[in-house]
Amino acid sequence: MHEEALLKDIRRKLVEESTRASPAQVARVRLWIGALSHLSEDQLRLQWPTVVDGTPAQSARLDVTTSRDTTDPRAQGLVLMSIDVVEPGRSSGRVALRP
């Protein structure tokens, strides 16, 4: 029942990251669902369009990986793994940000 709040937190973070350097559209979002999170991919996909509507991620492809590893330290969580952003006039490259 917390999926909407979790996704809103994800939205806040991805908007923050996508606009950190320059305004950009998000092409792809990768989420990781922990084995003990009580979340499911279906739940997230159901709410996703509503949550990202009006953000740079509203047209983004959503990739979801569901973990079965109950020993992962993040097993109870939902992780925003990465986002692919499309930026006009910038060279390509991988930028690792660790909040």
């Binding site: 029942m1 917390h2 909407e4 709040a5 979790l6 996704l7 809103k8 937190d9 994800i10 973070k13 991805l14 990251e17 996508s18 092409a27 993040r74 969580g77 939902l78 992780v79 925003l80 793994m81 990465s82 986002i83 692919d84 952003v85 499309v86 930026e87 006009p88 006039g89 910038r90 060279s91 390509s92 490259g93 991988r94 930028v95 690792a96 940000l97 660790r98 909040p99």
Partner: protein, 431 residues
């Protein structure tokens, strides 16, 4: 145009399901909106088509802190339709189970959510580093409440032993006797808690509440009674809809309840204490008097003292019930062979206040419709009023300090959303 991947590796957090929006214009509070984001959970819809026997187990899942309240309101409503009379020791056992829930719920709120506010700690974990004894008192009380829940309900959270007509299994006298030392110790700790809570520093506040609670002629009401208020209301539960209404408001997912005519009202410990305080058990009355607790409390920050008094009551009442207990010959009153169609309405006193249920059954016992009005939804409008007054009194504070005070004003009423301790995102608009 280029595409790049930003590896974020960010673990999402639930910051809670609520936020508070306050608009201040020229030194005056124009608007206060307590927004509850938690999506609708559709329990009333889940119940349609299910058998009446399933209601206590399905509705218990609405809340992990007060599942007994949902079970009790549902079984009373069903028993009304079935014409069942549950009295004697079965009634006493229900009250005993409710005592367990009040103890564990109040202990959780008082010690783990509310006390850190008064002592300047962000949460009970930080408090425990400096003052482990205080937190241990809370945990001991919670453990005592949980022990009662386990013994009578089969487990601490979402009990499974409650059924329409009584219980699936009732304990023997010796089983209840085994829990006596735990409850005697809890009673002492609860009394200590009253003294401790009364000594906390309270912000000034004096709210003109309409208190609403159940009232019973013979006891501090938990399971049965009329709905009364300090403004002259006195109605049987079945007439709830004539006096109260609930409606969606645009900014929150929770339905907001008001008295017919639009005025807010307050449920919960402060309402019960103010309306029924004379019916508290002797030690609860004595300790309330010893700390100078007036018969009516209008400062919501002092609700922590009232909850502590109710913990004394619940421990004392539990011991009284155990003293007088004799195992009933049957664990439940059997339903009639043919289940009639009908409508049943019941309200009981959840730790946070009056919890109303209404069901319509088809012949044979299938649920045709269900209506559940939770205490937090009923208190929401009144909480907004509290926050409005807090902001009006404290406009000189910066947004950070004001946010803290608003959180406290909300937490005073132990809303279910408070399970996320730092749930509040304050949007302050000052013009």
């Amino acid at each position: 145009m280029t595409e790049r991947t930003i590896a974020v590796d960010y673990l999402a957090r639930v910051e809670g399901e609520g936020s508070l929006r306050v608009r201040v214009s020229e030194g005056r509070v124009d608007d206060v909106q307590l927004q509850i984001f938690e999506p609708p959970r559709f329990f009333e819809a889940f119940l349609r088509g299910r058998m009446y026997t399933e209601a206590p187990d399905i509705t218990a899942r609405i809340c992990g802190i007060c599942p007994v309240a949902y079970q009790m309101s549902s079984v009373h409503a069903m028993e009304q339709i079935l014409g069942l009379r549950v009295g004697g020791q079965l009634r006493a056992l229900r009250r005993l189970l409710y005592c367990g829930e009040w103890i564990e719920s109040h202990a959780l709120h008082v010690y783990l959510l509310h006390v850190p506010d008064f002592l300047g700690y962000p949460d009970a974990v930080q408090l425990a580093k400096d003052d482990p004894a205080t937190v241990r008192r809370g945990l001991a009380l919670k453990k005592a409440g949980n022990a009662l829940m386990s013994l009578l309900g089969g487990r601490e959270i979402h009990p499974i032993n409650v059924r329409v007509g009584g219980f699936y299994r009732v304990p023997g006298r010796e089983e209840l006797e085994q829990i006596r030392p735990t409850l005697e110790s809890a009673l002492d700790i609860a009394e200590e808690t009253v003294h401790f809570a009364a000594g906390l520093p309270f912000p000034e506040a004096d709210e003109d509440y309409e208190f609403v609670a159940l009232q019973h002629p013979d006891e501090y009401a938990m399971n049965e009674g009329e709905i009364v208020s300090n403004r002259g209301l006195r109605i049987p539960v079945a007439r709830y809809d004539e006096e109260f209404e609930k409606a969606p408001v645009g900014y929150t997912h929770a339905l907001q309840s008001v008295r017919k005519g639009g005025t807010p009202y307050l449920l919960g410990a402060m309402a019960r204490y103010s309306l029924n305080g004379r019916q508290l058990t002797p030690r609860a009355r004595e300790v309330a008097a010893a700390v100078g607790l007036e018969p009516v409390i209008r400062n919501p920050f002092r609700s922590i003292v009232v909850r502590a008094v109710e913990m004394v009551f619940a421990c004392e009442e539990a011991l009284r019930i155990i003293d007088q207990y004799e195992a009933p010959t049957e664990p439940y009153v059997a339903a009639p062979a043919e289940i009639p169609a009908g409508i049943g309405a019941a309200a009981t006193e959840a730790p946070r206040g009056l919890l109303f249920h209404r069901y319509r059954l088809a012949p044979g016992g299938q649920i045709e419709s269900a209506e559940i009005v939770a205490p937090t939804a009923q208190n929401q409008k009144r909480i907004e009023e509290d926050v409005r007054h807090v902001v009006e009194r404290s406009l000189a504070l910066d947004d950070t300090a004001l946010t803290g005070l608003c959180e406290r004003a909300i937490r005073n009423h132990d809303p279910c959303i408070s399970c996320a301790t730092h749930f509040l995102r304050l949007e302050m608009e000052r013009t």
